[in-house]
Amino acid sequence: MIENRPGLNLLAHLTLIFGVCVVALPVWVAFVASTHGATDFMSGTIPMWPGPHLVENYSQMLGAGVSTSGTPPVATMMLNSLIMALAIAIGKIAISILSAFAIVYFRFPLRGLAFWCIFITLMLPVEVRIVPTFQVVADLGLLNSYAGLSIPLIASATATFLFRQVFLTIPDELTEAARIDGAGPMKFFRDILLPLSRSNIAALFVILFIYGWNQYLWPLLVTTSSDYYTIVAGIKRMADAVDGLPQWHLVMATAMLAMIPPVAVVIGMQRLFVKGLVETEK
């Protein structure tokens, strides 16, 4: 829009500032809470400025954890979450890009059926199939393992459609030129398709990493050993203090720590992320 009316500009900015406040205020409150002592938040007035216990709270959480809620140190839970999120993101991308490659570039029997099977996974997220999936994972002895945490969430090829779209924009002549240049199917995939889908892979990685990191219901279900607690599920367990008041300052410190990796991924991959979503020309 080229329109330039001061009134409109002001309104737009007010709307944006309001939006930022709505998002940022709870984060701020959480941060403030994580820097106060145990009782400050129970005293009736909620402090709005950081307190003196920042280093103390965070080092306690990272190193020792909260013994009363039975959760391991935050560092362990973050590592678990990281492994799960990476496994989900990388696994999903690998499966999706390969199945898109098969669907776009090969004519094989039952291709239509394969396509529809992939399509159906779109309608079956974990929440819908959670009971049978839990049964399968339990029977396979995958409870309390990284495989059990990540594989059921990988098993959907929803991103296949994104890659299919990407591959369809790659001109046929490029495929033919590669054929004449002596590149077999897998070589073509590695040398031409992968580099050309780089920014799309990055964009998808950001989305899937956050999706994986934020998994709550499934990890809560399949992990009973505290060695495999993920951070998002761990926060919930900490807040459920049965024999006392929840230690909000520590819960909030954990929440702040849990936010760091997704934020880092988004900031670090911002440029590729935007490029991958808006770029159309190959």
Partner: protein, 335 residues
């Protein structure tokens, strides 16, 4: 280096549509053959069958002595230049040139030598480390040709390589392709819909229409003795005048023919010419002028020197031996 033989070649698509049929062409080693025809005549299909990108439904393609019907494109020892260049966008020019050689496990030193040599020939040396995105259309075209040259194949296949360039560059590149081919003496098969490009490049032309070969011959043969009314109308600019024989009964031979063809330059203005041209428009080209008009209801165009006198009605005499007679039913040449 090799000859290419197309033996009764045909293509039938699933669904029964016949795109190409009964094509017989013998291409000698080192020859430059241009396939020319209107869009949809099957010329690209034919080229892609030779390349191996399109399956062959009937007949045989031989490169050298080898039947290549079932051979993968990469193993046919051909290189192809595409209309949209088809350069790998994520690779530098050097990597683009080297890719085909690398896949063939050519030694590194040999790849470097050939890439540098091709870059030298095509004057793209200073772009070797750039990405295709940073090149102009003409430069990309050169890189596409470089990719063909480095392979040192038995044959070059060109699929309308100049149609994405602007008119001026097209003329310049046309000449370069011609010179390059003369220098390398590599058998070439070139597809175009532009009859001027076809005339200027070809050792021999193959004029295609509706999936069939209308005529094969050197540019001058095709120009001087078109084998059918279609070829007569397609080759030459401005196009040959094709008049209904009934409209010009006074011309010799028109009694038996369906159409009489006269090239625009084969008509002289004379005081007692048998053809009376009602002039409707004049186009000045500088060196000459095109005069459009009609006679007995048939449209006609003639070329005149730019200083020739003009009037609303011109009387014209065909030069001796300049008439082309075509059969009423088949459109084939009658003599």
């Amino acid at each position: 280096m090799a000859s290419i033989t197309l033996d009764n070649l045909g293509k039938i698509y699933a669904g029964g549509t016949r795109a190409v049929g009964d094509v017989n062409i013998d291409i000698a080693d080192g020859e430059f053959i241009v396939l020319v025809g209107p869009s949809g005549c099957g010329k690209s299909t034919l080229l892609r069958m030779v390349a191996g990108l399109e399956s062959i439904s009937e007949g045989e393609v031989r490169i050298g002595d080898r039947v290549v019907n079932e051979v993968e494109p990469a193993d046919r020892d051909i290189a192809m230049v595409f209309q949209n260049y088809a350069l790998y966008p994520h690779m530098s020019v050097r990597e683009n040139l080297a890719y085909g050689l690398k896949n063939r496990r050519t030694p590194k030193a040999e790849i470097d030598r050939r890439v540098d040599e091709a870059a030298e020939i095509l004057q793209i040396g200073k772009f070797l480390d750039r990405k295709p995105k940073a090149l102009s259309g003409g430069q990309r075209q050169r890189v596409a040709m470089g990719r063909a040259i480095v392979r040192e194949p038995a044959a070059f296949l060109f699929d309308e390589p100049l149609s994405n360039l602007d008119a001026k560059l097209r003329v310049a590149m046309r000449l370069e392709i011609k010179e390059l081919q003369k220098r390398l003496r590599t058998t070439s098969l070139y597809v175009t819909h532009d009859q001027l490009e076809a005339m200027t490049l070809a050792d021999r032309l193959v004029v295609l229409n509706g999936g069939r070969v209308e005529q094969i011959g050197t540019p001058l043969e095709v120009y001087r003795r078109p084998a059918s009314a279609f070829v007569a109308g397609f080759i030459g600019s401005p196009a040959m005048n094709l008049l209904d024989a009934g409209a010009v009964p006074f011309l010799p031979g028109s009694a038996h023919a369906g159409q009489v063809g006269i090239r625009p330059e084969d008509l002289d203005v004379t005081a007692d010419g048998p053809i009376e041209l009602q002039v409707t428009a004049v186009e000045e080209l500088g060196a000459q002028r095109l005069v459009h008009g009609h006679t007995a209801g048939e449209r006609m165009t003639i070329t005149l020197p730019s200083d020739a006198a003009l009037s609303d009605v011109l009387r014209l005499t065909p030069r001796p031996g300049a008439l082309h007679l075509f059969d009423r039913q088949t459109g084939a040449r009658m003599d």
